[in-house]
Symmetry: C2
Subunit: 213 residues, 2 copies
DNA sequence: TAGATTGTTAATCGATTAACAATC
DNA sequence: TAGATTGTTAATCGATTAACAATC
């Protein structure tokens, strides 16, 4: 039984590990595992048992002394913490190769989101069906936001356009950005969150390590 | 002038910041900026001047007291450290939506790589042209590796297949994996490096923060 | 009950920041 | 030369690990 929710003060090191816990617990659940100790999970995830117990206790006491953790319960708890039971409406901005791949590849529904609109500035793409949705003109974006109230935007646009479009989307009520452009987006409202994904940077760290081992 | 190369003992916190330094310096260079102090760069990148000087000094003394850093020189030095001047031959395994988007979206050449082959197990895709390259059968993979010696593999395949294919690729001489599958790949040879990209996890951390602010 | 394993406090380790002497 | 800014050492901060009393 969760003793307390201490969230808000959770360090980003912990937050970044949560989805991985959720994934591993999901796998255990799928395998039919009923209980797991921090020691067993640590072995599986290549972490320390100590770290796992520390991390989980940021959110409450989900285990039981002498027993460990019930896999199904813990999976559900972490899911709730992450917010997979929510349905945050999201829109895609920029429907090029990457944008299309992201929205067809990612299962939004299992991650607390629902894709409700796709926008692109290229007239050539207008009306195209992507994921069963018609690509819409950027001109209709504000009107769409007023009526449909999306809260998350997935940005797959060139870096030069990113800040301007993001500022515009903030005015339209967007509260979270999943940014794939080669640009470090930051918004200085405190109730708006940004997750930058830099695929180019990721490849470069691999290049570095490949050449320095 | 670099005093010493202390690499090998570089912490991963520092390594992960290197591509970002490279990007920001590239921008400054494009703008025609000649010199930059750690203080100015810190302001631009939202870091501390101290951290920048510490990071750079892991690799050598690139600055000059009283002056700062020469933008062009520092950009080139960091490029060399990252290995952008190398040409690591790479192959794509799995040419679905995501695989196609990655290889058409990422500029490999500016990141020390060259894509030399694309493979997929689906017969339907065989012979398709992607990025000016024909999709090849997985059956020809080993033979291809023997003759062309790729060193990096980009994995855009289902999680169930990942470990097996990665093990096979290790035997074929692959030294680095850029893994996009929903699977935590780890290879326990010490001369093989893995960069896992978990887009699903990335979205989940955004969902968490969106619901906890 | 005895054994096992948690929740939590204390110790350690590493990364970031501050300070300042070296020096361009 | 004087001013500026680095390279580097020392101080601080935060995250990870270890230890153990609480307890199922």
């Amino acid at each position: 039984m969760p003793k307390s929710d201490k969230s808000g003060s959770i360090s980003s090191s912990v937050i970044k590990r949560l989805p991985r816990y959720y994934r591993f617990l999901g796998e255990l659940l799928a395998k039919g595992t009923v209980r797991v100790s921090s020691q067993e999970l640590a072995l599986d995830m290549k972490l320390t048992a100590s770290q796992i117990r520390q991390d989980l206790n940021c959110f409450g006491g989900f285990g039981q002394q002498g027993y460990g953790y019930n896999v199904a319960d813990l999976h559900e708890e972490i899911g709730r913490i992450l917010g997979v039971d929510k349905v945050t409406p999201a829109i895609l901005i920029g429907c090029g190769n990457l944008g299309r791949a992201i929205v067809t590849h990612i299962n939004f529904e299992t991650r607390g989101c629902r894709l409700i609109g796709i926008f692109d500035e290229s007239p050539a793409l207008l009306g195209w069906q992507v994921n069963g949705m018609a690509v819409q003109s950027m001109d209709t974006l504000e009107q769409f936001c007023r009526s449909e109230n999306p809260e998350m935007a997935i940005l797959c646009i060139p870096k030069t356009a990113t800040q301007e479009i993001a500022d515009k989307l903030v005015k339209c009520g967007i509260k979270g950005f999943w940014n794939f452009s080669h640009y470090d987006l930051s918004i200085d409202h405190d109730n708006i969150v940004v997750e930058n994904v830099h695929l180019g940077d990721s490849l470069l760290t691999l290049t570095y390590r490949l050449n320095n081992h």
